[in-house]
Symmetry: C2
Subunit: 454 residues, 2 copies
């Protein structure tokens, strides 16, 4: 218990925050990692929980366990509400979402830092249409994934007992808004559930007739990838039976339909993979933000005007070679490592280093045994890309135990066309979509990423 | 599509209901299985989900998948609210708990049967103290297990940041009410979590100092077992550090403490493993009930006055050799088989057979590598009993896939003292304990059982 060690507070236990903590493992500092949730989520596989392929525990690991052996870190389960950079304090919600059994009085309502790493990630953005959130679930957390699983499975159950043909069609129509990696992956997975997993399970409906519609406002899917891979992805989705609609903007979403201009699509299940905004905590840093609410950081990732505060991952905006560093896990991990390094340098009184994002490539799966991958000039597609995707994701999954279980799950599902975790659990749609998820904006969601290599 | 096939309605997809459906697989009938949940739960292992050892999908399987190949059965996700034996109708809640996205109008509100099997199981009973439910969670469903997991993990998180010593002790005190198999298994598991799983994860608290108190009103634990095994169980729990209090009746439970007579135990987490009552649907059958609300069935398991209605498992009461048939899974399975047989006999116009429960033995685990088992006059304890428990449960788990994954999970946890599914997910305590679980009484919970062999 050395006194006077600098206190480093890290907000967010996603890819960036964890890397920042690890980068300081040998530094003579005391670290406090604060997250709303007790677990780190391997976000690139979140869609597999949503589509009944994996268990939550397969892709999430308790943060305390991950950091168990690093003695200079304490973990605190709490939601940070705002930062006061003048007094160097982080204010915490004493009754955060994840820890509100009645009777907790305002404990640990503020934490003072010497250095701060803001790694609170991104949240859904409905482009000013907050009312859409109730009807169009986004995918950022384990709870989101379980809610999507529940919505999708319930839609088939309700269709099975629905007498009216038009109403039944609406329950068997799944609309995904947004053609980035998450949208593409969800669309492929939903068609596979319809076509393979549920096919023999119902008596009155034929699940394989379910429609999956992927709506993208831009001219192509996977806009971050090269055009030839966008085309591959669209062709593969088309072959799976996904109705891909490009250059189509959603104009309204309610409980019964999605509108795109003059077209109304009767659909009971709408998933949101379109907009992302930085965690609202960024606003309290008193620094300039870009349109998505991200902090425009200095080249060394520090927050303008607050050299002891660093912002990394999806909550930070930095240009490199004329383009924004993408909001993917490798950028968050690299940012976390540099933030740790720069804090250590500042403590030693040495000049900080500028951030330089190294692109490790991008991957997206499109259903069973198909994917696209882009490693610099190497473009892969189909089975080869899928094998690359599989091994990279298995290797990156935290914890050997998870890797083994996930491999077995995938092998089982590959050969049997079956999916184990098809359970409808938890609260029902209204309470999920209602006060619980709309009331509070997430303040610490882990760094977002749909494509990933490290 | 033969017309005029008798319509058999089975309420509840637990051990009894599933067995009744299977028993009719070759009968010339049309079957409708109705359950509130989309999955069958392997209840004897539910405490392992509650104690972070297994994933929900490891012990639960979609009912549709289980019955996929049996063509004469349709599965309906709905909550039965009551039965009218005169008009032979089952009334369904059109917006049941598990399927209430807004906008479902009163569909399929009634189902007419020729034969009915009531296998709706049991629910918690708080002995007239309904207000205790909010503070003392019972364990009957996957959602219950996840809520207990959340409560237990959150208690440690809150203790870690609690400054006041007395308040911290209350968060680190876990009280289990009821010394039957579920109570004994939970108590052992909670001590193990404290002693092994979480030990190195916290910085300010020492989880191994957590108190686990098991309260039993009767003179011994595991009253259904032989006295020597009760004694073994108590000794083993004592060795694990569980504070076992026999002949102690709980007189009050609130958010902060449990009272037993003049003693107040400050405790923030209370689990309820004491009272069980038959599903409230039983009341609508117009037949005599016993004190726990079970239907006093005829020797052939039919409901008095309604020869075409059968009640099985935890919803039925039948004496045999001067004692009630116990509320365990094997009794439900055997009852389901006989109900199917007797329906087939009634269709053929043959006399029905009386029920004869064959005791296959009982098992209960007491933490790591210890258990008690009673097979007739053979009493096993310690490691041998645990090995018996392990293999019997692995064999009985539905689906090869689950067996393999559970074996790997257990092997991993056995050798590493680690537990994977330690995630805090889902709604917070107030909403779980509040309107959601107190508002509606479960009408279809699968057959309850803490000890099991088939």
């Amino acid at each position: 218990m050395t006194q006077k060690r600098p206190h480093v507070v890290v907000l967010g236990g996603g890819f960036g925050g964890l890397q920042a903590v690890r980068g300081l493992s040998r530094a003579n500092v005391q670290i406090t990692l604060i997250d709303r949730m007790n677990h780190h989520v391997f976000q690139p596989l979140l869609y597999q929980v949503a589509s009944c392929a994996l268990n939550p525990a397969d892709i999430a690991s308790p943060i305390r366990r991950i950091l168990r052996k690093q003695e200079n870190v304490s973990v605190l389960l709490a939601a940070a509400t705002h930062v006061d950079t003048k007094s160097k304090k982080v204010f915490l919600d004493a009754t955060p979402d994840a820890s509100s059994p009645e009777g907790i009085d305002g404990l640990c309502c503020e934490v003072t830092y010497d250095y701060l790493v803001v790694a609170t990630g991104a949240t859904h953005s409905y482009f000013g249409h907050g009312d859409w959130e109730e009807h169009a679930k986004g995918l950022k957390s384990i709870d989101d994934a379980l809610a999507i699983r529940r919505w999708v499975l319930l839609a088939y159950e309700i269709a099975e007992r629905e007498e009216d043909e038009a109403a039944r069609r609406a329950w068997l129509t799944f609309v995904i808004v947004g053609g980035g990696p998450t949208g593409v992956e969800l669309a492929g997975a939903l068609r596979e559930i319809a076509h393979h997993v549920l096919r023999k399970d119902f008596r009155r409906i034929d699940p394989s007739t379910a429609r999956v519609i992927l709506i993208e406002a831009g001219p192509r899917l996977l806009a971050a990838f090269a055009p030839d891979l966008s085309k591959s992805a669209a062709m593969k989705l088309h072959a799976l039976g996904v109705d891909v609609r490009l250059e189509t903007a959603v104009t309204a979403i309610d409980a019964a339909r999605v509108r795109t201009g003059d077209t109304a699509i009767p659909a009971r299940t709408v998933l949101w993979a379109a907009g992302v905004a930085a965690s609202p905590l960024a606003r309290s840093l008193g620094a300039p933000l870009d349109r998505a609410g991200r902090v425009k950081v200095e080249p060394d990732l520090s927050v303008p005007g607050s050299p002891e505060v660093f912002a990394i991952g999806d909550v930070a905006a930095l240009e490199q070679d004329g383009a924004l560093v993408p909001g993917v896990a490798p950028a968050a991990v690299q940012g976390g490592a540099l933030a740790a390094e720069n804090i250590a340098r500042r403590i030693r009184g040495v000049e900080t280093l500028p951030f330089r994002y190294r692109d490790k490539g991008m991957l997206a799966t499109i259903g069973r045994a198909a994917a696209v991958a882009q490693f610099g000039k190497v473009h892969l597609r189909g089975f080869v890309a899928w094998i690359a995707w599989l091994f990279i994701h298995i290797l990156l999954l935290i914890g050997f135990r998870n890797r083994l279980l996930v491999l077995i799950e995938w092998a089982w599902e590959y050969f049997t066309y079956d999916r184990g975790p098809r359970l409808i659990t938890g609260p029902t749609k209204p309470s999920i979509a209602g006060p619980q998820s709309t009331g509070r904006a997430p303040s610490h969601s882990p760094s977002s990423s749909a494509s990933l290599t490290t």
